[in-house]
């Protein structure tokens, strides 16, 4: 069967499954809507958390990014899983014990301050929208490539599905759908990975395969072969890093602290019955996450080997079909600089920026581009986001595997988008409306506003997907940097320092935010030309600056708290209480 037919079948089946689950698990109260009634089994919650956590970035982009970054790609592997450990050890059990609905709830109550709550809401909404834009781009790519519908149509279909299970089901619908989405996405990730590992290294376990020997009979190690190939083409060796140790350190730390502060993952722990369940559920979640995260670096190595082999030196009309398919979408391009009709894949950018295509085709039949050429010998442009999606085709795997990956990519993007939409809606309906502007809202009204807020947020997210703002790629650094510099230190200090007061927490959040925001804006927008190590503070890139922002936040908060009044007794008692696991009720509105 054709790839497209199979994709329609797989995507149709999985979407049907999600809708069925949504209808079965409709939310009836705000407790259902915000925290799934608080009665979710820890293993199921672990799966849901894993799907929530692993976004389109993890499923679609990460292996591709690592394939081209080589060793330095470890920042994502370490950052995103190590941050999870911080979350599980330092935040999850205590926030579960605190037992309310949202992250701003915690900040607002712990720091006895509406201002703190509103600052938290602003951070949360900004972080979440930045993140959603990326998910919707993932949905758009999958639809336009595999179902050959217009990106707008694809995004609308995706929005429709999320609307059904998020608006009807709230957290309850989202939790059970996410558990199903985890199963879909991990199966879709592992099947091609195992196939490709067998083809390249002869080992059915990708995690071991990429350290094994090539299956081509040469007897050479996989990593050595890749290193040698890349050095021949003018790249650095795959197993050597290009970035400085301090920058790698800072980026890893910023990603760790940032992911630990991501609100949509934190709220997942509000859905289990007890504190000990929150801990256990975090363990299961990381195990489910680790299956994908330890496979990704293997996929990256195999993909890079296959990519070079199937592209470099080929005449254009002998390139595999996938090359021309992705060229049609505009995510790969070839410029025949030396007019030999063959693709030369070398180090360096082939031309300035992303390709802008003219309507005409060149002598070999390639789409001509209008960008200014560069001096490098490289003729091939490839968007990193295509690697995972194109991988089964690059390795010439059966059509059903290609279709499966499409369904998996959608599961990853939609599960994360739904989780983000829920925290946005809770922040608006619960923290802004109920807790800040109109405390007299009944539960029924609040539920209605929560549904309206999720629908509006979904509409906005859809617009991001259909008309992706040109700066999406640049602002991803924001989401993690800001979460690291604002939410994480405030929550951590709230639990571990009884003496921390509202003056300290608010001052810390504001200083951390402004510093991080300013640094990223300066290097990404105001003066992108000077975005090199020579101008960076301590040699730390904007991607890693959230680490310094977080450190500043801690320092300022500590100093300010020292010179201002300690928090009221009731708040100190609250801190004592959240430190004890016993007596945690279902997360609820404390009125």
């Amino acid at each position: 069967m054709a790839v497209q037919t199979l994709t329609y079948i797989f995507v149709g089946l999985t979407f049907g499954l999600y809708i069925a689950i949504a209808l079965w698990s409709r939310a009836r109260s705000t407790t259902d809507f915000y925290v799934a009634g608080g009665g979710v089994n820890p293993v199921i919650n672990g799966m849901a958390t894993a799907a929530d956590w692993m976004s389109a970035a993890s499923f679609i982009s990460m292996a591709g990014i690592i394939a081209f970054m080589g060793r330095d790609g470890a920042v994502y592997l370490l950052g995103w899983t190590g941050g999870y450990v911080l979350l599980a050890l330092l935040l999850a059990p205590y926030l579960r014990k605190f037992g309310q609905f949202t992250v701003p709830d915690f900040i607002g109550e712990r720091y006895y301050s509406r201002a703190a709550r509103v600052v938290a809401v602003i951070c949360l909404v900004f972080i979440s929208f930045t993140y959603i834009a990326g998910q919707m781009r993932g949905v758009g790519i999958v639809f336009s490539r595999f179902l050959e519908v217009h990106i707008a149509t694809g995004v609308l279909i995706g929005m429709g599905i999320v609307f059904i299970y998020a608006v009807l089901g709230g957290m309850k619908g989202i939790t059970y759908t996410q558990a199903a989405q985890y199963c879909v996405l991990i199966f879709a990730y592992m099947v091609p990975a195992i196939f490709i590992s067998l083809l390249v290294s002869g080992s059915p376990i990708p995690q071991l395969g990429f350290a094994g020997t090539m299956a081509d009979g040469s007897g050479r190690a996989v990593l050595e072969t890749l290193d040698a190939t890349l050095l021949d083409l003018g790249f650095g060796a795959y197993t050597d890093g290009a970035r400085s140790t301090i920058d790698i350190f800072a980026i890893t730390a910023a990603l760790m602290i940032g992911t630990a502060g991501l609100p949509h993952v934190i709220v997942r722990f509000f859905t289990v019955p007890k504190v000990s369940d929150a801990r256990r559920s975090a363990g299961w979640a990381l195990m489910f996450i680790a299956i994908l995260y330890t496979t990704a670096p293997a996929v990256a190595v195999f993909a890079r080997i296959n990519f070079v082999e199937s592209v470099n030196g080929k005449p254009y009309d002998e390139t595999p079909a996938w090359f021309r398919n992705w060229e049609d979408i505009g995510l790969v391009a070839w410029q025949d600089k030396n007019d030999d009709g063959r693709l030369q894949y070398r180090a360096g950018a082939p031309f300035a920026g992303a390709p802008s295509f003219s309507d005409t085709r060149g002598d070999s039949g390639e789409r001509l581009i209008t960008n200014t050429t560069t001096e490098t010998a490289n003729e091939v442009y490839v968007d990193r986001d295509i690697i995972v999606l194109a991988n089964p085709e690059i390795a010439a795997l059966p059509n059903w595997v290609v279709a499966l990956v499409a369904a998996g990519g959608l599961a990853a993007a939609l599960s994360t988008a739904a989780g983000l939409l829920l925290v946005i809606s809770a922040a608006v309906s619960h923290d802004l409306l109920k807790k800040t502007f109109s405390p007299n809202l009944s539960e029924r009204q609040e539920l209605l506003y929560a549904r309206i807020a999720i629908a509006v947020a979904l509409g906005l997210a859809g617009l991001f997907g259909i008309y992706p703002p040109a700066f999406v790629a640049q602002v991803v650094a924001f989401a993690f940097g800001l979460a690291a510099a604002s939410l994480f230190p405030a929550i951590l200090l709230g639990v571990f320092s009884k003496r921390m007061n509202k003056e300290g927490a608010i001052a810390g959040m504001i200083v951390g935010l402004i510093f991080t925001f300013g640094y990223i804006v300066y290097f990404k927008f105001v003066s992108p030309g000077s975005n090199t190590a020579a101008y960076w503070l301590f040699g730390i890139s904007p991607e890693g600056i959230g680490f310094i922002g977080a450190a500043l936040n801690f320092a300022v908060a500590g100093i300010v708290a020292r010179f201002t009044a300690p928090p009221p007794d009731a708040v100190q008692d609250l801190v004592d209480d959240i430190r004890l696991p016993s007596g945690a009720g279902v997360a609820r509105d404390h009125g």
């Binding site: 899983t81 071991l208 990593l223 197993t239 000990s276 299961w284 995260y293 430190r579 009125g591």
Partner: protein, 126 residues
């Protein structure tokens, strides 16, 4: 500990929505004396600290700072530092969280603050 406390907490699991606020500062704390509470918290912090040292050592230590030195050694066919940064640290992370789960349950029990209610609750063990 009194039967009173058990009632408060178990009723919550029955989703009774009468809107009775469960005060953060009430029953459960009075039952646990201040000194027991601080002994529990110290044990907790000590355990957390030990786990975080391992967490830092395998990721920032072996995977980043000392990676170049470790690369001289080979493990399962990988340069060792490379293995830590792209595989090993993640396995250790998973093990760490499960050690945390088991260790904290034990610390909770020793100090009498565990949340294992006498009645079976939703979720339960897997």
């Amino acid at each position: 500990m009194t039967g009173d406390q058990t009632d408060t907490t178990s009723s919550v699991f029955h989703h009774d929505d009468q809107g009775n606020p469960i005060g953060h500062t009430s029953h459960d704390n009075e039952a646990v004396s201040k000194s027991r509470m601080s002994a529990y918290w110290r044990a907790n912090l000590k355990f957390l600290g030990a786990l975080l040292v391992v967490w830092f050592a395998v990721s920032f230590g072996a995977g980043i700072i000392f990676a170049d030195t470790l690369d001289q050694y080979s493990f399962l066919g990988f340069p060792l530092g490379f293995w830590f940064s792209q595989q090993g640290a993640i396995y250790v992370f998973v093990v760490l969280i499960f050690i945390y789960v088991i260790g904290m349950n034990r610390i909770d029990k020793i100090h009498g603050v565990d949340d294992d209610e006498s009645s079976p609750t939703t979720g339960g063990s897997a």
